[in-house]
Subunit: 278 residues, 2 copies
DNA sequence: TTGCTCCTCACGTCACGTGAGGTGGC
DNA sequence: TTGCTCCTCACGTCACGTGAGGTGGC
C-alpha cells in the first residue's frame, strides 16, 4: 500500500492528477481511510495507471481511456478508434506543418524587408452566388483600362435592374476572363450584382450562378481602384511565399464592399484570388 | 455599415466570435446603437478582422494577437514571437509524429495478433538515486541463474544494513552489468536498497549513486520472477515497434515494488530498460 | 401574427494547476 | 512546536458553442 504521494512518484504523476482520476472514476484507490479520507494504492494498480498513461500518450481523452479500459471495447471497436486517431493525427500534422510554413514565410519576410507588413492575406471559402451581369472587353487587366470599361456597365446594369424591378441582394461584384480574340492582353470584364431571380428571356442582362471558390486568397483594399496593383502584388507574393498556386490566370474577383459616392479614396474592396496548394 | 450578421458573413466568422472579440476588446464595433445595443461594423474594419484571422492562423492566442495589433510590438519583438512560435510548432510536430508512430504500431499489433495486448509499456524518466549494494556474478541473465544468485545477496544486505543501523528508504532494486571474464553470458548482479547515508570506510556494503535513466521503457510485472522472460520480451518488442533502441545491452533495472513473504505469485516488479530513439 | 435578427446572461468544454483553509502524525 | 503530507472546496485556464429568455422591425 502506497500513500497518494508515493504512488504519484512511482507513476510520475502529480497528486492532483490521481485525485482527478479518482473523482472521475478512472482510477479509484484500493483503499480509502474512513476517518481521514486518505487514499491508498497498491503496487498492482500501477499497471492500470500505466495503461492509462499509455492510452493518454496516444492522444485519447480520459473518457475514451475509461471506455477502453472498463467497458471492454472489442477488437473491432478498438481498431476503429485507433484508425480515427490516426486520421486525426495525420490531419493535425498537416495543419501544423502548414502553420509552420506560414510562420517561416513571415520570418523570411521580416528578415528581408526589416518591418512587418500591414496588409493581411487570408484564405477563405467563397460560396457560389447568383448574379445579374453585363460584360464588355477591356484592352488589358490594368486599372487604367478596366475603370473606363466597367463604370458604364454598372450604370447601365443599375438602370436595367431597377427598370425590371429586380432587387440587388448584395454589394457589386466584378470578375474577369481572358477575352477571346487576337489580343493576349484583352480581358472580358463582368460587372455584376447579387440577385435572387430566375434567368428569363426578356431580361436585358444575364442572370448566372457564379461558381464557388474552393479556396481564395483574399485581401481588403482601401482606396481607389487605380491603386489596385499593389494589393494584387501583395496577394501574388503571399501565394508564392506560402506554397500556393493561383488558378484562372490570377485574375481576382472583386467585391466592392463600400463605394461611397464621390472620392474613390474611401472605397473598400475585397480581392479574391482562387488558389490551390502548389 | 454592416450588422453583426452581415459582417460575420463577410469575415467568415460566427456572430458569437465577433461578440467575443468585442468583449475582450480585440475588435470593437465601429458603432453601437444606444437604445438596442445593436453592433455595427464598417467595411474598413474587415482589414483588422483579417489581420486577426491571419495571426490566429499562425497559432497565436487572442491575447498575443491583441498585443501585436495594438501595443505595436516592434520588429525585434515580433521576430522573437515568430521564432518562439516556430520552435513550438516544430516541437509539436515532432510530438505528434511520435504519437502517430505509436498509434500505427498499435494498429500493426492488433492486425497481426488479432487482439489487444494487456501489458502497457510506458516511457519514464528515472532520477538518480543513492543505494547500498552487494554484487555477485550469475552464470546468465536468465531467471534460473539470477534467482539463486540474488536471493542470498539480499539476505546478507538486509542483515548488514540493520547491523550498521542504516535505514532503507525505498523498495529493493536490482540491476545488471556484463561480467568481466571468459563467459559472454555471465552477468554481474547487483542487489541494492535506496539509502540516505554517505559512503564510508567501515561499511561491509558498497554505497554508490545509481545514475538517472534519461528515458526508460518500463513495464509492471505481476508474479514470480521465473516468469520475467515474457514481460522482458514485451518490452523488447515495444522498443522495436516504436522506433527506439535499447541501451546497455538491454539489461533491465528491476524495482521490487511489492514482495509479500511466501508465494512469489503476488510480487509486483517494475522493469526499466534504458532506451533512445533509434 | 409569424420569422428573422439582434441582445444579454451564463453554463459547458478538458484536464488538470493553484491557492485557500484546515487536519493529523512525527 | 515546526514541517510534512494529506484532505476538500472552488476558481482559473482558452476560445468560443449553445441554450435560455427576451426585444424590435418587416
Amino acid at each position: 500500500m502506497f500513500s497518494i504521494g508515493e504512488f504519484a512518484g512511482l507513476g510520475r504523476m502529480s497528486v492532483r492528477m490521481l485525485r482527478h482520476y479518482d473523482a472521475i472514476g478512472l482510477l479509484r484507490p484500493a483503499h480509502v481511510d474512513a476517518a481521514s479520507g486518505y487514499r491508498f494504492y497498491t503496487a498492482a494498480q500501477l499497471s492500470r495507471l500505466n495503461r492509462i498513461i499509455a492510452l493518454k500518450d496516444l492522444g485519447f481523452t480520459l473518457q475514451q481511456v475509461q471506455v477502453i479500459l472498463d467497458e471492454k471495447v472489442d477488437v473491432t471497436e478498438l481498431r476503429g478508434m485507433l484508425r480515427l486517431r490516426r486520421a486525426q493525427l495525420a490531419e493535425q500534422l498537416a495543419a501544423d506543418s502548414t502553420r509552420l510554413a506560414r510562420v517561416e514565410a513571415r520570418l523570411r519576410l521580416i528578415e528581408s524587408e526589416g518591418h512587418m507588413n500591414t496588409e493581411e492575406v487570408v484564405l477563405k471559402h467563397v460560396p457560389s452566388i447568383r448574379i445579374a451581369e453585363l460584360t464588355a472587353v477591356a484592352a488589358s487587366y490594368g486599372p487604367e483600362d478596366i475603370g473606363p470599361t466597367i463604370s458604364p456597365l454598372y450604370e447601365q446594369l443599375i438602370g436595367r435592374l431597377e427598370a425590371a424591378g429586380v432587387k440587388m441582394t448584395g454589394p457589386p461584384i466584378a470578375y474577369y476572363d481572358p477575352a477571346p480574340g487576337d489580343s493576349a492582353e484583352a480581358v472580358t470584364t463582368h460587372a455584376a450584382f447579387p440577385v435572387a431571380v430566375e434567368p428569363g428571356p426578356d431580361q436585358d442582362f444575364a442572370v448566372v450562378d457564379l461558381p464557388a471558390i474552393e479556396t481564395a486568397a483574399t485581401l481588403i483594399h482601401r482606396g481607389s481602384m487605380d491603386g489596385a496593383d499593389r494589393p494584387l502584388q501583395v496577394v501574388a507574393n503571399w501565394i508564392d511565399e506560402n506554397g500556393y498556386r493561383a488558378l484562372g490566370r490570377g485574375y481576382a474577383r472583386e467585391v466592392y464592399l463600400e463605394v461611397p459616392p464621390g472620392d474613390q479614396a474611401n472605397w473598400v474592396t475585397e480581392f479574391q484570388v482562387p488558389v490551390v496548394k502548389a
